[in-house]
């Protein structure tokens, strides 16, 4: 297993702290004044040259948010967030929307360090050496700094651009779909996002088009005390197909940073959307200092008949994770899938899972969740499967496995199942296991050291989910798993 080997080498070459994306880029930025009020919302909207309707939409969200309370039902604890002590907008000073050559070389260097080529010719070189083609939208703090392969995509009719541009260029599409899956009033963090979101990706795949390459967004929080509130909207029109990847990192900092994103997916008749995430935000140090607070609302709407939405996530980062990528199975015969690997180590707290809401006839959903807890961490799976009274023939299969490494961590499973239709068939399987001393002894007797043995056993545990990821991501994820578990044994 070369990937495991490589990882172990990589881990060893790093010093005490294994988070390798923890660097900070020195760059001049332009920020909104600290704090949050209507002026902040107006500032962001003005920066983006937004039309009046967009500003109104934001202000409405903001006013709503003022009346809401932060949710406290998740199995996570953290000090109160001072929403007035944050910057809500931070952008690199040099304009970058014109061409790749106008991007600050520091930013290009940052993405290169992260292994994300923003120059198309570099990306093409990568393809020559065996990779597949991936179009990237890079979001740096509050703005999108580059989107690659735009022209080639537009030939196929695919729109892939920063959402701030889409608001200006395709207002009808944005108006029609923005907030149609996650309403402005949905929850505290989604409402906050609606008021202050600064950028993110917009994808529209027209009728019958199979998107010719993987689309990808890479999020990077750089600036201190800055919240990142990105907004992603993906629409697959009838018969379309798109596969979308999301990655993210942040510098190591002693204070916590807030990330509250919203992702909305819409699949019309016979359309399919595959959304994969490798979440690697800074998790904080070994004593739980610093790290990203990740409060994310992700939801897909299988609006058309026979449509399909599939979420695959590998969660290794963040100090706090609060995230439930869900599917609304509205169309008849629509399908929803959720494949998840959530790893927590150190003092990380994860409360993650999914919701499968069966509304249409003969809808089916599948949930495979693998939680791995090590160190002093807490890892909760929280899931809801529900069948509406008209959802005749709804089917769900849920498999939820937890693996504990060591005896100071916790794994929790909180499944909710509600069926209002007697023909629904819901199955739920769950296991909790420990990496046993016997397994470690057996592997070590064959020559593997404790870290290699743990990586091998964990990779075996998550295999079902890794297989769902696009190839390059699977290799990346496999490495990430081993790095995340560094120091969890012995």
């Amino acid at each position: 297993m070369p990937a495991v080997q490589e990882t172990v080498d990589q881990v060893r070459s790093l010093d005490v702290d294994q988070y390798k994306y923890g660097f900070f880029t020195e760059i001049e930025t332009e920020k909104a004044p600290k704090g949050l009020n209507e002026d902040t919302v107006r500032f962001i909207s003005a920066k983006k040259n937004e039309p009046e309707w967009m500003l109104e939409w934001r202000l409405e969200a903001f006013r709503r948010w003022l009346t809401m309370r932060e949710p406290d039902w998740a199995r996570v604890s953290y000090p109160p967030i001072d929403y007035q002590d944050l910057y809500y907008y931070s952008a690199p000073k040099r304009p970058s929307e014109l061409s790749i050559d106008d991007i600050d070389p520091e930013i290009l260097a940052t993405y290169e360090k992260l292994g994300i080529p923003l120059r198309e010719r570099d990306a093409l070189l990568g393809i020559a050496s065996g990779g597949t083609k991936v179009a990237v939208d890079a979001v740096f703090d509050s703005v999108s700094v580059a989107t690659t392969f735009k022209e080639e995509l537009s030939k196929a009719g695919v729109i892939f651009m920063p959402i701030s541009e889409a608001v200006r260029e395709y207002p009808e599409l944005v108006k029609k779909y923005l907030g149609s899956v996650v309403p402005v009033t949905d929850n505290y963090f989604a409402t906050l996002n609606s008021a202050v979101f600064s950028d993110g990706s917009f994808v529209y795949v027209p009728k019958g088009v199979r998107c010719p390459m993987e689309l990808s967004t890479y999020f990077r929080i750089n600036e201190r005390n800055t919240g990142q509130f990105e907004r992603t909207l993906i629409i697959a029109d009838a018969g379309a197909y798109v596969s979308y990847l999301e990655g993210c990192t942040a510098p190591m900092r002693d204070e916590n940073q807030l990330h509250a994103a919203v992702v909305e997916l819409v699949a019309l008749d016979d359309a399919e959307i595959k959304y994969s995430t490798v979440q690697n935000w800074y998790p904080g140090d070994k004593d739980g200092k610093g790290g990203i607070f990740n409060f994310v609302t992700k939801r897909g709407d299988c609006r058309g008949d026979r449509s399909k939405i599939s979420w695959t996530q590998v969660e290794t980062g963040s100090a706090i994770t609060w995230k439930y990528p869900s599917c609304i199975l509205r169309g008849d015969n629509s399908q929803g899938e959720f494949y998840s690997i959530a790893i927590s180590n150190g003092r990380q707290q994860v409360d993650s899972g999914t919701k499968m809401i069966h509304l249409g006839k003969n809808t089916s959903s599948r949930i495979i969740s693998k939680g791995i807890a090590a160190g002093y961490s807490d890892n909760t799976y929280r899931g809801l499967v529900t069948a509406h009274r008209k959802a005749t023939g709804a089917r769900n299969f849920t498999n939820c496995d937890s693996l504990l490494i060591g005896d100071k961590c916790g794994a929790h499973t909180v499944p909710y199942i509600e069926s209002k239709n007697s023909s629904a068939q819901f199955e739920h399987e769950a296991t909790t296991s420990k990496i046993s001393d016997d397994q470690l002894f057996y592997c070590r007797q064959r020559g593997l050291d404790p870290e290699e043995a743990t990586a091998l056993i964990v990779n075996g545990f998550v295999k079902d989910v890794l297989q769902q990821l696009p190839m390059e991501f699977a290799v990346e994820a496999q490495k990430l798993i081993a790095v995340s578990l560094e120091g969890s044994v012995g």
Partner: protein, 254 residues
């Protein structure tokens, strides 16, 4: 110099009130030799195999063990493996989701790396496994399945011998390899073991019954009871034990 030299080994179960299990065991094993260790249940046979492999549940309180003159007890578990100690488990452990093939390769390369050798290339590795697996009646399907997951008793033991054949250890310790095997499986496994007998390789075959020793014929037989070797002899000793049982040794020691 003996390959393995155990001198006056005392060991107890780890912990404050751990029971003493080995009470002054001595044994010398030279390259090329096959030693059988027989004895009643609870005599400490399996404990000996675990201590040689380095399992952490035991504490050595006295005595020494050397491998090629080096202090074996000072080495980590995986270091011992890389130096050529292989334990065929009585109860092989399941590792779900990790294909047997992947496991074999990870193990072999981990050992080679520790010895400063290059990794085996993919074609060479595949050829090696195909060849060895065929002799043990292990098909491709078994190699793709998770390590020991859903294997029958016989399949598990054959898989252990396959690992042994691939890793080419210097010292093979077979812990009750015959347990749970029917006569046909016993034959296949024994043939696999016999094929690995070599002038530079030694084996310690731990068994309760003489049956296995009809197939794997030992050079020496030792009777173990209450934590030490109480009698040693040639292969005929096994037949005598088969006829008379362990009763006389248990009385002697009591």
């Amino acid at each position: 110099m003996a390959l393995l030299d155990i001198d006056n080994l005392h060991a107890k179960i780890d912990g404050e009130h751990g029971k003493e299990i080995l009470k002054g065991l001595s044994l010398k094993v030279n390259p090329g030799e096959v030693h059988a260790i027989m004895g009643p249940n609870g005599s400490g046979k399996s404990t000996l195999s675990y201590i040689l492999a380095g399992k952490e549940d035991y504490e050595v309180t006295d005595g020494t063990v050397t491998l090629d003159g080096e202090d074996l007890l000072e080495m980590e578990i995986d270091e011992r493996a890389a130096k050529g100690v292989f334990l065929a488990f009585q109860y092989p452990v399941e590792v779900p989701g990790v294909a047997t093939m992947t496991f074999l390769r990870a193990s072999l390369n981990a050992q080679r790396k520790k010895r400063g050798e290059a990794e085996v290339s993919t074609p060479d590795f595949l050829r090696l496994v195909k060849d060895k697996a065929a002799h043990l009646g292990i098909n491709q399907d078994m190699l793709r399945r998770g390590v020991n997951v859903g294997f029958s008793g016989g399949e598990k033991k054959r898989a252990e011998i396959l690992q042994m054949a691939i890793l080419e250890p210097k010292l093979c310790v077979l812990d009750e390899t015959d347990s749970g095997l029917d006569i046909d499986a016993l034959k296949v496994v024994s043939e696999g073991v016999n094929a690995l007998r070599a002038p530079d390789r030694a084996m310690i075959v731990i068994t309760h019954y003489q049956r296995l020793l009809n197939h794997i014929v030992p050079d020496f037989v030792h009777v173990m009871n209450k934590g030490r070797i109480v009698r040693s002899g040639g292969k005929e000793l096994a037949l005598e034990l088969e006829a008379n049982g362990y009763a006389e040794y248990q009385q002697d020691a009591a």
